[in-house]
Symmetry: C2
Subunit: 220 residues, 2 copies
């Protein structure tokens, strides 16, 4: 190969790796900001909206919508977008899906990540709400929200244009689904419970996150 080619190849390679580096830094930044939100004293609604915004920004999606399960229905509980919450629509808390409806219902039932890069709104499972501008989308990424190993909701990213989701986007939404699940559990604990809690005792008595058989924690 000629030196000029080496040089061009090398510059192209540096550019490529630098853009991957930037993307990883953004992904780390999202995790770190979510972690900080989890220990801050914000209202749950504000925290969930802040997380939806972080996800939308990272994925460059047109919107991020969070549904939580209420009596076998999925209820829209937070969105990054002002459309659903403002403009006199007040859709948050109102939009409801049955668990057997839509792509969102499928994700909740199957507990699986779903990534559709184009024609998502032509999928027969898709349910459209004429009120939600977010619902006209080509690309759809959706992950279950997991609390204590149980699906408690679904988090979705919509792109109006076709979009091939990256591995980083899929990983991020999966992890955010878990972190939101933890956050919901945290929000149920009275703040005084922390002050009264004896965490040492909890660990030393082999405190289980959920019941299981005898373990081998190996403490002396």
């Amino acid at each position: 190969m000629q030196p000029a080619n080496w040089h061009n190849d090398c510059v192209a390679k540096v550019k490529d790796i630098e853009s991957r580096l930037e993307r990883l830094e953004q992904q780390l930044g999202v995790y770190q900001r979510v972690s900080r939100l989890m220990v801050r004293e914000l209202s749950l609604a504000d925290t969930l909206r802040a997380i939806a915004k972080l996800v939308q920004e990272f994925t460059h999606g047109d919107s991020c919508l969070l549904y939580l399960i209420d009596n076998d229905e999925l209820v829209l509980c937070a969105t990054n977008s002002p459309h659903a919450e403002f403009a006199g629509k007040g859709l948050v808390g109102k939009v409801r899906l049955r668990m057997d409806e839509g792509l969102t219902g499928w994700v909740a039932r199957e507990r699986k990540l779903l990534a559709i890069s184009s024609d998502a709104d032509k999928d027969p499972r898709f349910k459209r709400f004429s009120d939600l501008p977010e619902d006209y989308c080509e690309a759809f990424l959706s992950a279950p929200v997991i609390a204590r190993n149980r699906v408690v909701g679904v988090i979705n990213v919509h792109h109006r244009a076709a979009h091939r989701h990256s591995g980083a986007e899929m990983e991020l939404l999966t992890t955010i689904g878990e972190q939101v699940g933890c956050l919901l559990v945290l929000a149920r604990m009275a703040p005084t419970a922390i002050e009264e809690a004896n965490h040492v005792e909890l660990v030393m008595t082999h405190g289980h996150i959920a019941p299981r058989d005898a373990d081998e924690t190996g403490k002396g």
Copy 2:
């Protein structure tokens, strides 16, 4: 510059960025594994030990020790290392520090990250336990464990040799301190509480992670 120099420079640059890329991928991997641990059904002791192991591996430290507060004392509750737990010593649950003792006590009181790259065991605040091989260290990195905006413990990384801590290591330990705090709160919730919980109601009633004044959540 000569083509040969361009080439060498470029190769060196690629190597440098590739190693940063690898490091970021490792950091992301730790966050993702911790998140998965938070929703899995493992005993708390096992989960904390797994987290200490992940931190030790990421930092290439000689040990990672987790202390939790119990009645104004810091109690060693988990470690990556078999020394403290096996070898007939049974130090986990036994080693206790007063809040005004040692570097660990300082971190708990000040709620600050502490990074000492060399001569840590000569610091006048350092308290040595002859039983803990981990305590002969040159480098010491320590972050508070935060639950609901309150210090509930400290997590430490020890290097026997001098070690200049990277920004990534400091960031990681800070975030792990927050995630461990969340995990401790989660472990206190009975699993049935999740099944009975109405998360939608919690969000819609402006559920607060901790009390504060009226907010502007903007829902319709």
